[in-house]
Every structure is written in C-alpha cells, then in structure tokens.
Symmetry: C2
Subunit: 163 residues, 2 copies
C-alpha cells in the first residue's frame, strides 16, 4: 500500500467523525499566515489555530513570490483578512543550498535549467525582513498595519519576532 | 490586543510543552501535499499527519504555478519526497471569481493591474486534472508515479479522488 493510500484511510476516519460542516469561508480570525512547507512546521499547531480560523499559505522557505502576493490579495480583497504573519524557521533547507548549485543540479538531472529563483537565502532574519518589505510594498495588499515576521525555532517550538 | 498577539500567546503555551526537537528535516512519510489556503482545509488533520511527516505547500486554490513547481522540486531533489497529493475543495473562493473581474477590482482599488493570473477556475475536477498534468509534465519533478488529485468536501470532511 502506498503512503497516499494510507493517508486516504486516515481521511476515512477523519470524515467519519467530521462535525465542521458549517464553517464559513472567510477566516474567523481574519489572519493570513505565510510559512515554510517544512514538515516540522505545522502553523495551526504552533499558533493554536483551529479549522476555519486562518488562511495558511506555504512554500519552500516561506518566501514571497508573485504567487504569495496573489494568495494574500485574494485573502484580503475577497475574504476579509487584515493581519499577516510571515514564518521562516531555523534549520531551513533553503539555508543549505545556493541558487546556482540547485540550478546546476536540476540542469544536470534534467537537461533543463529553471527560470525561477530557487528561493535560497543566506540569512534568516534578512530573508524575513525582505519578505515583510515585499508584502508591505505590494500595491495589491491593502491591509499592511500588521505584517509581522518571525523565525520559528524547530529546536524549541518558539516563534521569535524579527524586527 | 491584536489577533497576532493572541496567537503569539498561544505559541508560548505550545513552546512550553514542546517535545519534538529531534525531528529530522526530510519528511518521514516522503510525501508532499499541495492544497488550498482555505481556513477550513487543514491538510495535517484531514490526512492524519503529524509534525515531521510531510511537506505541505498551500496557496489560493491549491493551483500549480512556478512557485509550487519550485517547492516540489526542492521537496523531491533535496529532501527525498516521492509521492504528491493535490487537494482542491468544494465551495472554493476561486470558483466564485473570474480572472477579469478580480483584476478589474484590484485595478479599481489600486490603479494597478496584476500581471499574474488570479488562479480563478470554473470547474473543480478540471482544475485538479490540470494541476496533475502540470506536475507530471514538469521536467523538474522526477518522481511522478504517484501524483494523485482530490477534491476535499468541506461539507463532509471527505477526500474524493479525481481520476
């Protein structure tokens, strides 16, 4: 049995006990979170959020690209969120690669070199600050009074604010 | 107190009981999930996944753009995942807007028209199938034997496979 099949069995159990059919579409806490895809970073757990509470956007690194701006724009313009939390984390895979090395690797493996940036960064705090700037400076994000950035420590479970 | 401040208080409690300092970086179940950012869709809950089990990538709609290909490429090439689950859901906000209407709205609000596509789609199953194709056809995703797509029913908690 594949892992996917196992997860589908888990879902059958989840659905059997499901009792949240009446949650509205707009996030109850009016918050959107952008975080790394890392398996150790579970934003709802870390922040004590339940189903229906917040939009959660995730990618490799928790960096900001056009796709995060698109998602945040939909979150604020269409679904009423007003605060944004940006979460990078210690021991991130993107601290361990460089853009050139990763692209070289892909080119050697596939014969094609990606046109996108890998997202690799050298310093966590700098990357969080860059992400805050990208969000605040985007013309498409209207609510920027509370755009705060954090480093999640995978060693302690703690969020450390980057100011 | 802002909602963000409340969530930081929740995190202090989480960190106080934290006992997962030793999780390795590569996802234990070797799975990456791409799902919508919707507040009602909590992939770890729906699939019975714990911290450390899977990469979770999320955006508005759960659609595939260059940023999801980037994240999946890093997931497979750098961190050993081999299976992919793509999750859209019923009652999705992207079924309720059109690309032109959303861009008109942003242009009226900001004076600028985004260059990116909004991600809006008209049919859930078609969008899931498009996402599967985009992943399978990407030269940068080496493991494509198990790329499966689902509609999550927010009314029942059940995942329905799209074939």
């Amino acid at each position: 049995m594949s892992v996917t099949d196992e997860l589908l069995r888990n879902n059958e159990k989840y659905a059997a006990g499901f009792d949240q059919a009446d949650l509205p579409t707009p996030p109850r806490r009016k918050v959107a979170i952008v975080a790394c895809m890392d398996a150790r970073v579970v934003p709802t757990e870390i922040l004590g959020l339940g189903a229906g509470d917040a939009h959660v956007i995730r990618n490799a690194g928790g960096v900001i690209t056009d796709d995060e701006i698109r998602s945040l724009a939909i979150s604020q313009h269409e679904l009423g969120t007003e605060e944004i939390l940006l979460i990078h984390h210690t021991d991130c895979g993107l601290l361990k690669i460089t853009d050139d090395e990763f692209k070289d690797k892909l080119e050697q493996a596939t014969g094609r070199r990606p046109e996108w940036h890998s997202g690799a960064f050298r310093d966590l705090e700098t990357s969080v600050r860059d992400s805050i700037s990208q969000v605040v400076e985007s013309p498409f994000i209207p609510h920027t009074d509370s755009v705060r950035g954090f480093v999640y420590e995978v060693e302690t479970g703690r969020l450390r604010e980057v100011v």
